[in-house]
């Protein structure tokens, strides 16, 4: 039996448009994406971008789409078989042959009625049982309306990949270099010309040729003449170097954020986050992050899914949208010991040796559960647009203490509806009408931030 995918309504809609006050596309544009990946992204965007044909009843279609994605999409495709049969045309197929609604709602119960068509379908897809779904007849109608009116995505005009500006950046450097070389050549030639002229002048004045001196000697002599200027230049260079070193020291050991290239290690399987978790309206699968990273809400670790979680879907899905994708899926099958030909496990298992992307120092305790379950943060607020613009995972945030406590300083504690915070507030309110002095202090800016409840205290993270 396959677990049911939990696909809520597009959760990205719940996300504040600009959670950290950082210009997302801006910081992404600075990322350098290697040409191979650019090509890969291009192919993806070509194959995935889709334009929808407009159906007659847009509202019904939309609600059907939502229901389909929430309830059916993990096991059914519209046009082709997956874990379960393709859904297009099912309504016509069932007309007069049985109760489609009952079949959808609880297939195992309906099977007991001995309906011929049901038995036929069961024989084809057993032993995978379809879990009963709590849908009304209207909702089922909406789903089939959506399914029957769905049009496969049409390739969109390719957009320039986001990596482009950085390439321009490196071209600029090249131009600057050429320019600098030109200047150098011109400068050297000019100094030659100047020297010849000086010689000529000197000869003309009858003083004979100037003494043969090396360029360095002449430079020294010139520098000595322009002592003040040179010391300013020297000072400027020293200060500039120190400042640069200072800046560089700040990002030692920092592998994310705006100032350094993001850490994006080579992974044994090039898992594509965008494809799996990206928005459905862009042709992606929109799987909830916590379907795979299920321990994020209960543990300090978000958890890398075990291979059996991949196999929930990839038992059925053995081909990718691209050839490269198929190759990666094959790797999963190898690790899980799954023989897609025979449709059986061989027992030859091998765990995937992923490279950890987000590394915190040992003395810092970070709990995903606190941030996800209590703080109700979206994954993207710290992990960046992993569902939109990252194929293989990379470290988006700098993960420095500054970054942590900046957020703790600004972020309001999500107290509403939480009995724990009701108690905290009751204590802060105390017995007086005016409330506790501390509470007034906290509320000066109109909100109670994480910092004010102790989010800046050392032993919240270091113990």
């Amino acid at each position: 039996m396959l677990p049911r995918l939990f696909l809520p309504p597009d959760f990205r809609d719940l996300l504040p448009s600009n959670p950290l006050g950082m210009p997302l596309p801006a910081c992404l544009s600075r990322r350098s994406i290697r040409s191979i990946r650019t090509a890969f992204a291009l192919i993806l965007s070509l194959s995935l971008s889709a334009a929808q044909a407009q159906p007659a009843d847009a509202a019904l279609y939309a609600s059907g789409e939502k229901l389909f994605k929430g309830n059916c999409a993990s096991c059914h495709k519209v046009d082709s078989k997956m874990t379960g049969p393709a859904l297009r045309g099912a309504k016509v197929k069932w007309e007069g042959k049985g109760d489609l609604y009952a079949w959808v709602k609880n297939s195992q119960a309906y099977l007991k009625t001995g309906n011929e068509l049901a038995v036929k379908i069961w024989d084809e897809y057993k032993p995978t049982i379809m879990t009963p779904v709590a849908l009304t007849n209207e909702e089922i109608d909406a789903i089939f309306y959506y399914v029957d009116n769905w049009a496969p995505p049409v390739a969109d005009t390719p957009k320039p990949p986001t990596g482009e500006p950085t390439d321009q950046g490196s071209n600029n450097w090249l131009w600057l270099l050429v320019l600098a070389l030109l200047f150098l050549i011109v400068g050297l030639s000019l100094s030659g010309v100047k020297r010849s002229l000086a010689n000529a002048v000197s000869e003309a004045e009858g003083k004979g040729t100037l003494p043969e001196t090396s360029r360095m000697q002449r430079f020294r002599a010139w520098a000595w003449e322009h002592k003040v200027f040179m010391s300013f230049v020297g000072l400027f260079i020293t200060v500039w170097v120190i400042l640069k070193l200072w800046d560089a020291a700040w990002v030692i050991g920092v592998y994310g954020g705006d100032e350094v290239p993001h850490y994006k290690p080579e992974q044994p399987i090039l898992f594509n986050h965008t494809l799996h978790a990206g928005k459905a309206n862009k042709g992606n699968l929109a799987i909830n992050c916590q379907y795979c990273h299920s321990s994020a809400e209960k543990s300090k670790h978000a958890g890398i899914p075990s291979v059996n979680v991949c196999m929930n879907c990839h038992k059925a899905v053995s081909t990718g949208r691209t050839e490269a994708g198929t190759k990666e899926i094959k790797k999963i099958h190898q690790h899980a010991g799954w023989d897609p030909e025979k449709g059986a496990f061989t027992g030859q298992e091998e765990p995937v040796r992923w490279v950890k992307v987000h590394n915190l120092p040992d003395h810092a305790y970070f709990s995903h559960a606190t941030h996800v379950s209590v703080g109700k943060l979206e994954c993207q607020e710290c992990h960046g647009p992993i569902d939109e613009q990252m194929d293989v995972a990379e470290q988006w945030a700098p993960l420095t203490m500054k970054w942590c406590i900046t957020c703790h300083n600004e972020r309001e504690v999500k107290m509403a509806g939480n009995g724990y915070y009701d108690e905290v507030m009751a204590r802060l309110n105390g017995d007086t009408i005016l409330g506790h002095g501390e509470l007034k202090k906290y509320l000066e800016d109109g909100k109670i931030t994480v910092k004010e409840l102790g989010g800046w205290e050392c032993a919240k993270c270091h113990y």
Binding site: S306, P351, S367, S373, Y421, R427, Y463
Partner: protein, 1071 residues
Amino acid sequence: MSSTKRIWMDAADLRQDTEAIKARESEFPQELAIDQVLGDANFNGAHTGRRDFLKFLGFSLGAATLAACETPVIKSIPYVTKPEEITPGVANWYASTFYDGQDFASILVKTREGRPIHIKGNPQFGINRNPALPKGVVNARINSSVLSLYDNERLKVPYSREGRSTWADADKAITDGLNAAIAADKRIVVLTNTVISPSTNAAIAALKARYSTVEHVQHDTISYSGVTGANLKSFGKRVFPSYDFTKADAVVSLDADFLSSWGSTTEYTWQYASRRNPDGAMNKHFQVEARMSITGANADARIPVKPSEIPFAVIALHDAIAKKSGGVSVGGGMDSAELNQAADALWNARGRSLVVCGSNDEGVQVLVNSINSMLGNYGSTIDLDNHTYFFQGDDAVAAQLVKDMNAGAIGAVLMAGVNPAYSLSNAAGFKSGLSKVGLSVSFSRYADETASLCNWICPDNHYLESWGDFMPKVGQYALAQPVIGKLFDTRSWQESVLKWSGSEAKWNDFIKQTWQANLAAHSAGASFDSVWNQSLHDGVLASHTMPATPVAFAGDLGTAAAAAKQAANGASEWELSLYATEAIGDGQHANNPWLQEMPDPLTKITWDNYVCMAGSDLMRLADGVMRDPEDALKVGEQSPALQVKVTAGTSEIVLPAIFSPGQKPGTIAIALGYGRGANGEKVGKAACTTDHNGVFGSVGRNAYPFTSLRNGSVSYDAVNVSLTATGETYPVAITQTHLTHMDRHSIVRETSVGVYKAGDRNAYNKPHTLPVHEDVNEDGVIDSRDRKPVAAFDLWAEHPVEGVGHRWGLSIDLNSCIGCGACITACNSENNISVVGKDEVRRSREMHWLRLDRYYSSDTKWHEGREAGESKISLYTRMEEPSERPTVFFMPVMCQHCNHAPCETVCPVAATTHSNEGLNQMVYNRCIGTRYCANNCPYKVRRFNWFNYVSDKFGEVNPAWDDLGRMVLNPDVTVRARGVIEKCSMCVQNIQAGKLAAKKAGTPVKDGSIETACSAACGTGAIIFGDLNDKQSMVRGKAEGDRSYHMLEEIGVKPNVNYLVKVRNTEAETA
């Protein structure tokens, strides 16, 4: 050893050139021609110029910087198929059972990612559960046992005399050996400690069914044969009864250390502590003993007597009670007014009293039974119908076995849970007998003293890797389940027995079958599977209790008294009593570094056993040996201990002598369980260490040879002992050198129950006040009577603590604290506290976050002395001297989490700060190691990491050094590096986890849902943790009670830890 293929590394190896091979062993050869190199004239001339030096420096710096910039590649490898119950980062708790022949406890085991890392008592089920809290009692030995799982010296495969072997070979050879024994018509003996497992008994029965001459002999390392034998003679049942201290209004214990080492201590401790609440009906406890024991330290009245006098004290008590009850007197008892008081107390509480005796003499125990019988205690405080199954060993049978072995009558012996070559008084006889046995098999986890002499060692699993079932009492069952897969190629010894009996059953299936067969009678209605699953979940099944039946004493008092009086035969100047310490017990856990480093609750000595002596005796012995005999009393870093030679019979050992206040003059006491692996046996890490002379050897000396067989049971006293000073001294590692609290009531406060009940707080717990320059008492004059309590003063701006979220605090009840020290080892386990070894403890560098201070009372009182006109200096000196018959205080001290913490103000880098939850936080990554904080801490609870303890230097003692030992570390707590201060964090990791659970559930933190390691380990309820801002919390209630005070209140640091005044039931009986 059939392999003929030879592999060599080089020519020297092939030729077996010993010189060359030896030279290769040292990585840096000694004969390196340094002189030659340095003597070279060219070399002398060579020098590194300033510029070159700077170039090198710059290059190295640059290279190091570049190297540091490399992103570390860390692999993260998830399961292929994740077990449903495991979530990485979230702890799982499993109910299981600990039983090792001396302790029994239902426990909960904490596992992280499949590794057991912490043990606490089962708060819901089991006989060791204190229902009032609820918490399960465990002692230090039990909660430290998780570490022994990761001991790298455990045997990893079966061994034969030839070396490593396989299970197939072992099974074949042993089956052949057993058949040979049968063919020769010789007996096969299964020698075990007391088996309380129904399934193990069934497995042995299965072996007997296959081999007709199988005989099961049980032998307890520390014997209770005299107690069970006396019960056989008195009541016809050879059992160890169940005692119920909760019902006992008066307790008289004669040399029975029932809070630490005698009987079922995990039960007695909570039962006893529940009757020490001064707000309830407090019991009255008399202790009659020679050595100051933990139980004696808790007693209301302690009567010191010599070991040879114990039988006469019993007789005196017996006759006093007999006089009152009209029973038969025995005659010849001690004449003691104090014993008569005890008798009065018992008689006044007859039917609700209890007399226990630690003597292993049958005669003495028959008299004790008679006393309890006359008092009508059977059926109330003593239950023979629902007796325990502990301590079934019979010393006479064990002694006979040694004789039979020597006579060649035994064909095979299989040994589990025993170490007779170490612990028998007749160990030499046992060893010679063992060599005459055709097949000897040990199931020991180590190649210990006995196992190393056997033909085969078939290593048993660690109990955390094993299934097991237990029947501690009639109708009480318990289960043990494995919490980790087997680390090594070991096998449950019961499974081995089953295998040799021809059964292929797995041990866990066998247990289930046995339960199914046995439970049918007691679980009517419910399906077996549901009962089994529930029992496994709970760890316990309380199936039934037997109804009380009338108990009639049928012992022969005359014979018993005659036998008892023999104890005094041959008494000489010195008498010796042997005892088991709280940490090491009978010695099977001597390889556990946490236990070795846990200071003895009374002497505060670690990593050694020693001779406990009275001060006057010790000074007499030291006279002429030490420059100042008084130095012998002041053992510590500066003064080593006097070494003495103890001789009794044919045995003698040399040990340091320690001043133990309260020890009866003329008697000495030595702890059993030390001196493991004295002949180079590998008995586990930390049982042997390198001493101050650089000699690798066992920790302490073995005192078991001083035991002897008397009246058919092993006696743990020796009355004819000689004692001489060797003239040498010996350094001991002691954690507390001052003995008394010097009459400072701001540290410990004490009162009697009468004063307490009178209700005037100022009489026993007067708040500290300071004079102020304002008219507080409004009498119109500003004088010294105008005082304010210390709490009214603030040197700095106050931390906002009241009403701001939580304020975590501990309340420590000096009345409930019996001094067992389970909190110390629990803290070790929870907080990854380094073990530093004897040498560092000697330098006061132990790392324990929680210490258990022990203070003896002094006869000198400050005010009395001053009034008598004594000089201050002589008063101070005399106040340091403990009383001959001292009262004892135990006081757990951890970081007090002061709201005006002196440590916080002096840290130059703000590495220690205050949280708004009242915690004094220590941030290791900020700390630069100035140690100003430790200097400024009035409680001296801060510890400095002098070394990188997780290093080679400490590999011998610190379990975290090797890869296996490291598995016990709690991943939620940082392992501290060299150069930083550390201290009690009030288990902030548990606080954070508890708060998170509450936030996720959307409910306020429930009182009791968060526990520190120490409070969870404290089954007597002495340490209570909670939120002081929660007005309903238990800790708040205690903090606001009349008994509450702060240690060193006068310095105004406002701690979040409070103590409750100790109340002793010392008023004379009035009824």
